[in-house]
């Protein structure tokens, strides 16, 4: 079973009125967004804004308090196997099966995904070579650096060529070469016009280079959404960078200035 076809609806991801809560604390509040075919969607936000909670709800790690999530029309809660088969996920932290080697880990993942051995091997060889993982392929994950673990996760996410990639801060630990490779790969990945990528980050310059549209999340609420051009129209300066737009929409620009002033005094 390779990644399921992008059937159902053609929309890679549709989130409607999503709320996620941990006990009394609400992490995401009434979020709605779409990832369209052929699109890289960047979910931006400060630490604790609700990006990871949103992503965890999409990949089935957290049960939403309210709202629906559909992957190519399949509901995440009622058709969880169908949605998981269509998603390639890179988590925020590289918490893997430390006792396995990348080789053993990828065999497990491809077994669970019921991939054809020959195709899986060919795909693995290409990805392992591209990300320069050959030397570490048979070493336990416990002994690998954070960057190498991140590459293993990226390879596992791309192994079954899923129609939807969900990436939670995927570029955190990557070296410049892998970072460039990843950016080009993502751009190429959606070029066929059917796949989608949801990608969370707080690195504005990367989002600016990579994303077709961005959503700005602040305290669990979507403050703004659209292309860079459309966001600029919402009150920021004419040629404002995404960082400036972000700070403006989250009303943090004043806060940053005040914090700096306060630090200068001490």
């Amino acid at each position: 079973m390779d990644a399921g076809p992008a059937t159902g609806s053609g929309i890679p991801l549709r989130v409607e009125n999503l709320s996620v809560a941990y006990g009394e604390r609400t992490a995401v509040d009434g979020l709605s967004l779409d990832v369209r075919p052929g699109e890289i969607y960047g979910l931006l936000g400060s630490n604790g804004a609700g990006k990871s909670s949103t992503i965890k709800a999409i990949v089935g790690l957290v049960r939403p308090a309210r709202g629906t999530i559909r992957v190519f029309g399949f509901d995440v809660l009622t058709d969880s196997l169908a949605t998981k088969a269509r998603i390639g996920y890179v988590p925020e932290t590289s918490m893997l099966y430390e006792a396995l080697t990348p080789h053993e880990f990828l065999e497990f993942v491809s077994g669970v995904r019921r991939l054809d051995p020959e195709r899986a091997t060919a795909r693995t060889r290409d990805l392992v070579t591209a990300f320069r993982l050959t030397e570490e392929f048979d070493e336990p994950i416990a002994s690998l650096s954070n960057g190498t673990r991140q590459k293993v996760l990226v390879v596992a996410a791309l192994l079954h060529q899923p129609p939807l990639l969900v990436l939670d801060e995927p570029l955190n630990h990557l070296d410049p070469r892998s970072l460039r490779l990843m950016k080009d790969l993502l751009a190429q990945y959606v070029r066929n016009g059917t796949r989608g990528v949801l990608f969370s980050t707080h690195a504005m310059e990367i989002a600016e280079q990579l994303c077709h549209r961005v959503g700005i999340l602040d305290h669990g609420v979507l403050r703004g959404e659209g292309t860079l051009a459309s966001l600029r129209e919402r009150g920021a300066e004419g040629d404002a960078s995404l960082e400036e737009i972000f700070l403006h929409l989250t009303q943090e620009d004043e806060g940053v200035r005040a914090a700096l002033a306060s630090l200068e005094k001490t």
Binding site: M1, Y22, G23, E24, R25, K56, V59, G60, L61, V62, R63, S80, L81, A82, K84, A85, I87, Y89, P91, T93, M95, L96, Y97, E98, A99, L100, T101, H103, E104, L106, E107, F108, V109, S110, G111, V112, R113, R114, L115, D116, P117, A120, T121, T124, R125, V128, T134, E135, F137, D138, E139, P140, A142, S143, L153
Partner: protein, 555 residues
């Protein structure tokens, strides 16, 4: 800085250690739903409960041994097949008790050490401006706190109950033996932990290296197997003591006297009954005292070594694998059930706590199979022994079923995002438990075949019990999975989640025992009838439980 500062640091660090022991967040688990502010307190409470449970079991063993000591003259003269001098019997009971203490604490250490290492508590303290002795002391306190209740139970309860059974002098005399047993157990846990970090955890995959890792694991687990093996082999041990006692002073007895823990366990009867109470020849008493003193000195050395080594083990990164020529990647992909089975075996080959659970039923079967072969009893007795071995393997495999679920806690936050159905997950684990049982049964059959009167009936017995083993593990894993989905994944390593493991094992043990009870009930009839009835009961259980559990596990 001082021990007081180290204690203050350890107070904070132990909160984190308890949290990681229960929720395994650093190993990739997801936090359970609900109010996260209460998780830390809940984790501390569950760690305390587990320590209390281990302490309770040790206390039960100790009080049980004291009861046997108290009734020694009756047991040694009347209950044993061949009478044995009472002091010799008492020394034997105390040897058994101290051996069990070492094995049980060591085994607990094997369970706890991976958590101690993966929690990463010590590496967090290292970069802080704390002097080296304080860091060392903090590591020692943290390590000891994992075992505090069990250790206190042994150090306080053993002298008290031995004193009550044999007199106050005997109570004092057993203390060096208890202290040495505790220190050796903790040191052995640390030595094996260090070996694990340096050699096993970091070893490369592929190229037959997993066979090498399993060989390491067997070598490593064999001594800890003493916990169970000693109980299994206790009749043989007391038989040997009887023979030695009857033979009088001999080289064999001198060797026993020089062995731990006999040299320290013999002190209480020696002090209460005098040296003539044991078959000690010329120089035997000196040998016993020298050996006992030597073991106490060794324990002091081991304690000093631990003082240095705990920090080193706690902060050591896994061993760096030996470089090897990279091979072109080849994936042997299979179905999801087999993928789960292979993943668990591979993880167990680098995780001592899990390896132990797989190897224990198998080693026990080997020990009993060998005993059957070597002692060569009459065919009827051999069959009984072999049936006992297979029964034990079935019950052990079933009892440890919940622990195999604990492997899922590792990287749970990743594993749950894969399209792996609950049904495949459960069947993968059930296959592993079934395989363990079949290997154990096969080994008994291979070793005891020549001594059995009806090998085919025995093979029938092994196969007839298999569906019940599968049904029992299905039931246990089904309950655990349901609980995991509802409350977040319960960590059920036998130390930090002992209550969960034991409670879930109880219905499983009933299911696994039902065919054995049917077999025993029909034993007066021809054995083919008894085995057929057993198979019917087992298949009935598997059908009913399979329908109930697998029908529910669809997503």
């Amino acid at each position: 800085m001082s021990w007081r500062a180290a204690f203050r640091l350890s107070q904070v660090a132990f909160v984190e250690l308890s949290f990681q022991a229960i929720y395994a967040f650093r190993q990739g688990n997801v936090l359970p739903p609900g109010d996260t502010t209460k998780l830390s307190a809940r984790a501390r409470s569950r760690v305390l409960q587990s320590k209390g449970l281990v302490a309770g079991l040790l206390g039960f063993l100790t009080v049980g041994a004291a009861f046997i000591l108290h009734t020694a003259s009756f047991v040694a003269a009347v209950l044993l097949p061949t009478p044995i001098p009472v002091p010799m019997f008492q020394a034997g009971v105390l040897t058994a008790l101290l051996s069990l203490d070492v094995a049980f604490l060591w085994w607990t250490g094997l369970q706890v050490l991976p958590t101690f290492l993966s929690a990463g508590v010590l590496p967090v303290l290292e970069p802080l401006p704390i002097d080296s002795p304080t860091l060392r002391q903090t590591a020692v306190i943290l390590y000891l706190r994992l075992f505090d209740l069990p250790i206190l139970t042994l150090l306080v309860l053993t002298p008290v109950v031995v004193g009550l059974a044999l007199g106050p002098l005997a109570g004092f005399a057993i203390l060096p033996g208890v202290v040495a047993a505790v220190v050796f157990a903790l040191a052995l846990a640390l030595v094996t932990g260090r070996f694990f970090v340096r050699r096993v955890q970091g070893s490369r995959g592929g190229g037959g290296r997993s066979i090498l890792r399993w060989t390491y694991m067997v070598l490593w687990v064999v001594p800890a197997f003493g916990l169970f093996g000693f109980v299994t082999l206790a009749p043989a041990f007391f038989g040997a003591l009887t023979t030695l006692a009857a033979a009088g002073p001999s080289l064999g007895f001198d060797a026993l006297v020089a062995t731990f823990p006999f040299s320290l366990a013999a002190l209480p009867p020696l002090l209460t009954d005098g040296s003539s109470s044991l078959p000690i020849g010329d120089g035997g008493l000196e040998l016993l005292l020298a050996a006992g003193g030597g073991y106490v000195l060794l324990a002091v050395g081991a304690a000093r070594w631990m003082g240095r080594a705990i920090r080193e083990v706690g902060i050591a990164p896994p061993g760096i694998p030996v470089p090897a020529d990279p091979r072109p990647p080849t994936l042997r992909t299979t179905g999801a059930i087999y993928a789960v089975l292979v993943k668990d075996l591979r993880m167990a080959s680098r995780t001592p706590g899990y390896a132990f659970l797989i190897l224990l039923p198998i080693l026990d079967a080997v020990a009993l199979g060998l005993l059957t072969y070597v002692t060569g009893p009459r065919p009827g007795t051999a069959t009984s022994l072999a049936l006992g071995a297979v029964t034990t393997a079935a019950l052990l495999a079933t009892f440890f079923g919940p622990a195999f679920f604990a492997i899922e806690v590792v990287a749970y936050s990743y594993g749950r995002t894969l399209p792996l159905s609950d049904r495949s997950l459960v069947l993968g684990k059930v296959s592993l438990i079934g395989a363990i049982y079949l290997v154990a049964g096969g080994l008994v059959l291979a070793l005891a075949d020549l001594r059995l009167d009806q090998p085919l009936i025995f093979l029938g017995f092994v196969l007839a019990e298999l569906p019940a083993v599968l049904a029992a593990s299905l039931l246990e894993l089904g309950i655990l999975l349901r609980r995991a989905r509802k409350h977040g994944l319960p960590l059920v390593n036998l130390y930090t989640g002992a209550w969960v493991a034991i409670l879930v094992s109880i219905p499983g043990l009933f299911v696994a025992s039902a065919p054995l009870v049917a077999f025993e009930a029909l034993r007066p009839y021809p054995q083919t009838v008894a085995v057929a009835a057993m198979a019917l009961v087992a298949l009935g259980s598997l059908s009913a439980i399979g329908l109930f559990v697998l029908r529910r596990q669809t997503s």
